[in-house]
């Protein structure tokens, strides 16, 4: 026998189910008076640094139908590329920008809308700069474990071309699934769960 490594396995995931709103956005589903506001609904204030942008997204199933009961959380760096997190060791993030947002799908259209700022560039593990990106985490009824992906910015062609994460995707034809086109100040990021245009999801 040898000594025990003392590791405990992670608690297994279970679907968020159809009533995830009750727990995470109760005001959105009509349960008022418990919390003053739903967490993660407003990301920026007047003093937040950076370019104001809108991110519009949908999560689309294998039949082409947008999910109307999904919930998405996003996590991103501030305008200078710093995260507002204790594990950020390179500097401190903008105190007026937490970098985290949470949004339930519109119950009719399935659309998510985030009002945020365009993040700065963050270094990869070897010091090369990654292109600006926003991390997405998706949960819903029928999704057994939360899905991680990244949104990159359509107007950052040069940075995207040298991004170490995008470069790592073997099938280049799949890279555009992570890149959101820009129109005015709006980026549109449709996430496909299945099919020819299935979005790249990460085990990260």
């Amino acid at each position: 026998m040898v000594q025990d490594l003392g590791r405990i396995k992670e608690t297994p995931s279970q679907t968020a189910g159809p009533y995830v709103h009750i727990g995470l956005t109760p005001n959105f589903c009509g349960i008022g008076g418990v919390y003053s506001a739903d967490l993660g609904t407003s990301m920026v204030n007047d003093r937040t640094r950076g370019e104001r942008i809108t991110v519009k997204s949908r999560v689309i199933d294998g039949s082409g139908t947008p999910l109307r009961d999904a919930l998405v959380e996003i996590w991103q760096a501030d305008a200078d590329g710093f995260y507002n997190s204790p594990a950020e060791m390179r500097g401190s993030g903008d105190p007026n920008f937490a970098g985290w947002g949470r949004c339930p799908a519109d119950m009719d259209t399935g659309e998510f809308v985030f009002q945020t700022i365009k993040p700065g560039r963050v270094p990869f593990r070897d010091g090369r700069l990654m292109a600006p990106h926003i991390t997405f985490w998706i949960v819903a009824r029928g999704i057994n474990i939360g899905l991680h992906t990244r949104m990159y910015f359509g107007d950052e062609e040069k940075a995207n071309a040298e991004d170490p994460v995008l470069q790592r995707i073997e099938h280049k034809v799949r890279v555009p699934t992570l890149i959101a086109p820009r129109e005015g100040n709006v980026y549109t990021f449709d996430i496909h769960l299945q099919g020819d245009r299935e979005t790249v999801f990460f085990d990260i």
Binding site: E10, S13, W75, W100, R141, Q194, D203
Partner: protein
């Protein structure tokens, strides 16, 4: 044991054989909602080892008391009064301090306060069904609620969910983010539930079943169930590989 310096190592790889796979046809909704291509694997970057923080100041006095947080003054929710408590730790056994834990559930009759829930069981005017808390410096949390009822759901013609409480947990890095469900010791519906059977390993399922704890029970008031939650652990950063000379 204090941990003054934040940890910045990357997280242990997730054991995808321990978690439910994406495609589980007996849970019908998963069929059109499961990615079919392989996930792209990659070690964590700063974008993954960091994560949002929530201050204790966001938590209201009744946020962890579902018996009262939606009830009219002087009234309380109907049902079996219970305490749920436990500890959020990581795979190394270290407590996860100051992390947000959110929970939601059906009422004692198995009905959710949600416009999409059409089950016959009545709403309880004094029960909302949501609560939250932040773990203490050692990772402990606790809340008071009523035991949720089981409910039928449209999947097979006669599928029932066992009594359960949904949990959402953050941790310190965004890739620790986890949603799961807690079940109650002794419930015969556990082993018939298609959603629970998405988890392939019986030992993993048992990790979601909370035992009754008579020692934590408050006599003449509420029984107690213990539910510990384990998040991904971090690798040490002592010997991170970096270019020589840096």
């Amino acid at each position: 044991m204090s941990n003054l310096k934040p940890e910045t190592g990357s997280f242990f790889q997730r054991d995808r054989d321990w978690h439910p796979p994406a495609l589980t046809p007996w849970y019908k909704t998963s069929v059109l909602r499961s990615p079919q291509k392989a996930l792209i694997s990659m070690d964590n970057t700063i974008s993954e080892i960091t994560g949002p923080r929530f201050g204790h100041n966001i938590i209201g006095e009744l946020d962890n008391d579902l018996v009262h947080n939606f009830a009219k003054p002087g009234e309380s929710a109907i049902g079996e009064r219970i305490i749920v408590y436990g500890r959020v730790i990581d795979e190394r056994g270290k407590g996860v301090a100051n992390t947000l834990v959110e929970f939601w559930q059906a009422n004692a009759g198995g009905r959710y306060r949600h416009k999409k829930d059409q089950y016959f069981a009545p709403l309880d005017p004094n029960f909302g069904g949501c609560g939250r808390t932040i773990t203490d410096e050692n990772g402990f949390y606790t809340f008071r609620t009523i035991k949720p009822g089981p409910y039928p759901w449209p999947n097979g013609v006669n599928d029932w969910r066992p009594s359960h409480i949904h949990f959402s947990i953050f941790g310190d890095g965004f890739v620790q983010r986890l949603i799961t469900q807690m079940y109650f010791e002794g419930d015969p519906l556990i082993w018939k539930c298609p959603i629970i059977r998405t988890i392939p390993d019986r030992a993993a399922i048992e990790r979601l079943v909370a035992p009754l704890d008579m020692e934590a029970t408050i006599p003449m008031d509420a029984r107690a169930y213990k539910f510990d939650i384990v998040l991904r652990g971090r690798r040490s950063t002592f010997f991170e590989n970096r270019k020589e000379g840096n």
